[in-house]
């Protein structure tokens, strides 16, 4: 049953095309040249005739591969093309002297995209029709009603027919007929589109009929409650996303400060080194493996870890190991190291930020709800943070090295008596913390700026998370990071970014006053050590 139906539709579409007038060169010229008003009028006129040649011409206009000269439009193949195809006739002609690129501004672009979508409402592929409907949902235009009705009549897919009915209702809510308005107002309640909300709000103000007004209010409530879900989920996601970043920047510190007790002020600079390592790997890929550029991140992750871990091990061996048990001296020394590292990077790579590009699979986002888009780079960092966390938990909890680290932090003398090489374990643990900072740097490079000062903007955050979570506690770090992330985003939505930052700091000051040991305190004898 379905196949014959589809063929019938295609046949009808083909018939309809062959009957229509072809896009004339004059028409193409008028669409491309002149003032916006007349161009849009010419475009709508051509679109109404449903010409198949219009689609490719619109695509060319949107691509910027159309040139105009003497009221005629030409489609060229490249930037410096001399050969062109005259639009409307399809003849290959040399591009006339002085041909100019037509102006396509936002308004023109919107009209062109809508016209393009209207054309593909009758496309044989379901995906193309769905895309066309999605493109039209922000464009409420009365002149498109006959087209929508035709498309709804021809549509075979139930879901798409429902969406088309919503589109139609968006137009009909402005109709003069009271019953049609009422019907449309009720129907629109099923929508979850932000555009429908602004449409309903507008209609609510101008509607005179009490029944219709009530129906609009009812639908508005339904649409708004649906949108509110998108917003709530959005806040949760942005909070989790910020939390995952905080977790990444704090995890390394949870080892060096939390487990080893080293107040490492150079932690931020270890992140910065990881970010620069990512940038270097990116440049290597761009130069030597341009075909594999999209996958540079996969190589950058281990590179960032190893470079930062190496720098960390060097620091531990050369400076920090002489200062164990002297927190004030460690603080000053590591702060000095952070300045040295920053200046070293500044002298080597320049003071300006360097550009780290997202690979294409981390650009863009996935549309979950009409008003909720989750960007791929944020999702990527969430997953990455979870992986790092699991990896670290396994390393500390399940491996021999982890056992040694825990042993040395709990009772150094006893561990040493049992034959644990405490000095080497210290180096490994510090290098591990530094390496995780490097991983954080690699992740940060995907969302923020990479410059010599990168670490400075995160060092406060990372200490905040570790202290809030409770020193020496991995689980505490996780809860603190996610909690702070969501809290920060809730406050940001309510009070703005500047105030939110202040409020979070005040909250932490008060919290630490009340509970100096943090969220989760170590219990037992080791707590006093």
């Amino acid at each position: 049953m379905r196949w014959p139906m589809r063929w019938l539709v295609i046949l009808a579409w083909l018939l309809c095309c062959s009957q229509a007038r072809a896009l004339t060169p004059e028409q193409a010229g008028r669409i491309a040249d002149g003032d916006s008003e007349s161009r849009i009028a010419a475009l709508n006129e051509a679109a109404a005739s449903g010409d198949a040649a219009l689609g490719p011409f619109i695509d060319a206009l949107l691509d910027g591969s159309v040139r105009v000269a003497g009221g005629r439009a030409y489609v060229v193949a490249g930037e410096s093309a001399v050969e062109a195809v005259e639009a409307g006739t399809g003849r290959a002609v040399p591009l006339p002297e002085g041909a100019e690129e037509p102006l396509v501004n936002n308004r023109m672009r919107r009209e062109l995209q809508a016209a393009r979508a209207a054309l593909s409402l009758f496309a044989p592929e379901r995906a193309a029709r769905a895309a066309a409907i999605a493109a039209l949902k922000d464009e409420i235009d009365e002149s498109r009603l006959p087209l929508l009705e035709k498309a709804a009549a021809a549509e075979t897919d139930a879901a798409l027919r429902g969406q088309l009915a919503l589109l139609k209702a968006g137009v009909l809510i402005g109709s003069d007929d009271r019953t049609r308005r009422l019907e449309a107002a009720t129907l629109l309640g099923a929508s979850g589109e932000p555009a429908v909300r602004s449409l309903l709000l507008e209609r609510q103000r101008s509607e005179a009929d009490a029944d219709v007004k009530a129906a609009i209010a009812e639908s508005l409530k339904r649409v708004e409650s649906r949108l509110a879900w998108g917003e709530r989920l959005g806040v949760l996601f942005t909070g989790a996303s910020l939390g995952s970043i905080l977790l990444l920047v704090a995890l390394g510190l949870a080892i060096t400060y939390g487990l080893m007790g080293v107040i490492n002020m150079a932690h931020g600079e270890l992140m910065m080194i990881g970010a620069y390592a990512t940038w270097l790997v990116q440049n290597l890929f761009r130069q030597h493996l341009p075909g594999w550029f999209d996958w540079y991140v996969l190589a950058a992750v281990p590179a960032a870890f190893l470079v930062s871990a190496g720098v960390g091990a060097l620091l531990e061996r050369s400076v920090i190991r002489w200062l164990y048990g002297r927190p004030l001296e460690t603080l000053l020394a590591t702060w000095g190291i952070s300045l040295v590292l920053m200046q070293a990077v500044r002298s080597t790579f320049g003071a300006q930020n360097v550009a780290v590009e997202n690979p294409s699979w981390l650009s863009g986002g996935v549309q979950v709800l009409p008003n909720l888009v989750l960007p791929y780079n944020r999702i990527g960092i969430l997953v990455f943070a979870a992986l790092v966390l699991v990896g670290m938990a396994l390393l500390i909890g399940r491996t021999r090295l982890g056992l040694f680290v825990r042993g040395v932090t709990q009772n150094r003398a006893m561990a040493s008596c049992m034959g644990v090489p405490t000095a080497r374990v210290d180096t490994y643990a510090f290098a591990l913390g530094a390496g995780i900072a490097g991983l954080a740097g690699c992740a940060l490079a995907q969302v923020g700026n990479v410059g010599p000062d990168l670490g400075q903007s995160y060092i406060v955050d990372s200490f905040m998370v570790v202290v809030l979570g409770g020193v020496g506690q991995l689980a505490g770090t996780v809860y603190a990071a996610l909690g702070l992330g969501v809290l920060n985003k809730l406050l940001e939505g309510w009070a703005g970014a500047v105030l939110a930052k202040i409020m979070v700091l005040v909250f932490i000051v008060v919290f630490i006053q009340k509970r100096p040991q943090g969220l989760f305190a170590l219990k037992g004898r080791s707590a006093e050590a």
């Binding site: 396509v104 308004r107 672009r109 909300r197 791929y376 780079n377």
Partner: protein, 429 residues
Amino acid sequence: MHPTRRQFHLTLGAAALAASSLGLGSAHAQGAGPIKVGVLHSLSGTMAISETVLKDTVLMAIEEINAKGGVMGRKLEPVVVDPASNWPLFAERAKQLITQDKVAVVFGCWTSVSRKSVLPVFEETNSLLFYPVQYEGEELSKNVFYTGAAPNQQAIPAVEYLMSKDGGGAKRFVLLGTDYVYPRTTNKILRAFLNSKGIGDADILEEYTPFGHADYQSIIAKIKRFASEGKKTAVVSTINGDSNVPFYKELGNQGLKATDVPVVAFSVGEEELRGVDTKPLVGHLAAWNYFMSLKNPSNDEFTKKWAAYAKAKNIAGHKDRPLTNDPMEATYIGIHMWKQAVEKAKSTDTDKVIAAMAGQTFKAPSGIVSKMDEKNHHLHKSVFIGEVKADGQFNVVWKTPGPVRAQPWSPFIPENKGKKDEPVVTAKK
């Protein structure tokens, strides 16, 4: 280079002469040696993304002037300092340039907060500053020449465009900025302007972020919600510095398209968009008095000169992909006008140069003959509005028919009524 005994005596004599005739203050060495020119731009920190290239522009212009024989037969010698995006440091470095290095003029600053920080130094020592960036107005110092745009040469025309049919007929506005004096003042002016056009406060959302803010998720979510609460919405961005990179990245990733909610920026040009994938940003706007994509002979010359200079000096980024922008143009105009004024005044003395600056003209890369106003220390400028193209350049979609005179005191701020359109010189001594 050690000064010879003769030069030393000459300088000493000149200094003594100057000190005796002018009293304290302008003790610029008037000799045959090079004229020192101060360059005060952040080469590190959050503003380095925008300011570094201005330093290079000054150096290029100095090289160009020196190659043609210098100013009054004397070579120019640049003195570059780095105030590191640190506002109090700007004042310190300015003082160092003026009192220690004895520069004749300073080219510098981007953010208004840095300009406000150095202003007392320049007024106190009666020295000259050329400020090359669009700003909020509400200031008119005798010691500063503003070669960037005042609000009526950038912000107001841009908002008018957004409200026009071709700009999308925006009825609601999000005023988004970095939290400091320029965005706050500009938004105050814009709010008053929008109110005068019948747009109520309910249809205006003002949002600020700290310098260097990197997480724009909730801001974008807020913009989306605001846009769904009423008629056509547009965003006016006065975000400054490297925050723009995460802002535009997030904008692209969240799929906020220019056809739905256009964003017009006042501090984002070709340079700031370097390293951002501009394909999802096509159609977002910027308002400036110059775009690299302008087609005219003097711009061709300017961009070619810059490309050659960047290649010769191996300037990172620019050597492979040279970009020019509005503040670079303003810097370039500024230094050339200063040269012309010094030659007219036959002196680098601050007061003489200020007098000679009035009415100076220069063939600007934007395609007009730019004129320094006779009175108000601002340039007459054409306004262009450009849309971002997929290649990171701007496509000019609107422009003023000719140069516009600056109104440093915005008529939309009531307290400005009756303020004089020229620097008020308080009687000294």
